[in-house]
């Protein structure tokens, strides 16, 4: 069964790859997670081409959820969406904390949730109480 895929966009290649490692450890069946970190020269920054490349490597019928680290990464994520008009309706960007959102998104995707549900779950990571009183 097709499941939602996840793209981790970061200014740092290490950061994005590290998140993919962390999340992949939970081995959600049939959930593809791809990193789009750093520029094509390996510098700190983001790259539309890396984002579209990552999206293309994991696109499924169920769709693709993009998460990003800070501001300018969002601009490149939005450009990537514009460059992939054929995916309209099957690709969206989450307003979610990157690490926490990616973790929970992968778990929810593993449960076979829809793109909209996975996005909501990722965004709800904002409300996590990471430390209990």
């Amino acid at each position: 069964m097709a499941k939602v895929s996840i793209i981790v966009i970061s200014h740092s290649k290490e950061l994005a790859d590290g998140i993919v490692d962390l999340v992949s450890q939970t081995k959600q069946e049939d959930v593809a997670i791809a990193a789009a970190g750093g520029t094509e020269d390996g510098e700190i920054g983001t790259s539309v081409d890396r984002i579209t490349g990552a999206v293309e490597s994991v696109t499924t019928e169920e769709g693709v959820l993009l998460l990003f680290d800070i501001g300018s990464a969002l601009m490149n994520a939005e450009m990537a969406l514009e460059m992939l008009p054929e995916l309209e309706g099957r690709i969206t960007i989450a307003d979610a904390p990157l690490v926490e959102g990616a973790y929970i998104a992968a778990v929810e995707a593993g449960m076979g949730k829809t793109l909209e549900e996975v996005k909501k779950a990722a965004e709800s990571a904002k409300e996590w109480k990471k430390i209990e009183d």
Partner: protein, 206 residues
């Protein structure tokens, strides 16, 4: 004012020359309120632009600026990449199929560019971003017609005016009040863009 394809190519090349020349200052400005890479980003991006357009021959100014745009988009890793990239991409659409731009059509391109920056970055006038330069330049062109010399003057004045502002968008916005007292790097690179225009227009016209 009329801009030939040849002058428009010179514009792109002159922007590059200016970015190389002011690379350190651009980065210093960004160091103060951002991450210090704006000089690197601009120098890198426009060097690639220059490499791309230098030896190509374009009749269609739209096609030329589409190349400028896509080069910036794919070669600049910071916010300025998608922002300048989108700006020139929108301008390119307005200039499509033209081998010369009159004042009105050039202005349409600048207007489209501003719309692109706004859509991409969701900033407004006064947010201490490159828009603080682009919007007044556009307004002036719309009102009085395109005048490269005036655009450069306005750009310089408006870049200066960003010093006293508090950043509301981009990395500098994380600093809040501490962003005051420094010129916005993107405003300064935008000033250079219009200075380059004034120079090549003057040279082209003479």
């Amino acid at each position: 004012m009329e801009l030939s394809a040849a002058v428009m190519k010179q514009w792109a090349l002159r922007i590059n020359a200016k970015m190389q020349e002011h690379k350190d200052k651009l980065s210093e400005l960004d160091q103060a309120i951002g991450d210090g890479d704006h000089g690197h980003n601009m120098a890198r991006g426009f060097q690639e632009v220059a490499n791309k357009v230098e030896d190509a021959s374009y009749d269609d100014i739209g096609a030329m600026y589409k190349d400028v745009a896509s080069t910036l988009i794919s070669k600049v890793g910071g916010a300025s990449g998608p922002l300048y990239g989108t700006a020139f991409l929108k301008a390119a659409n307005a200039w499509k199929g033209r081998d010369v731009l009159d004042s009105a059509v050039f202005t349409e391109g600048i207007e489209a560019a501003v719309g692109g920056i706004e859509t991409r970055g969701k900033a407004s006038l006064g947010d201490k971003t490159m828009l603080d330069v682009w919007i007044p330049v556009r307004d002036e062109m719309k009102e009085h017609g395109a005048d490269a010399e005036k655009a450069a003057k306005t750009a310089e004045k408006e870049a200066e005016a960003t010093i006293d502002r508090v950043a509301k968008k981009g990395r500098a916005s994380y600093l809040g009040e501490r962003s005051k007292g420094h010129m916005d790097p993107g405003a300064f690179s935008s000033q250079l863009v219009f200075e380059a225009l004034a120079e090549v227009y003057k040279e082209g016209a003479s």
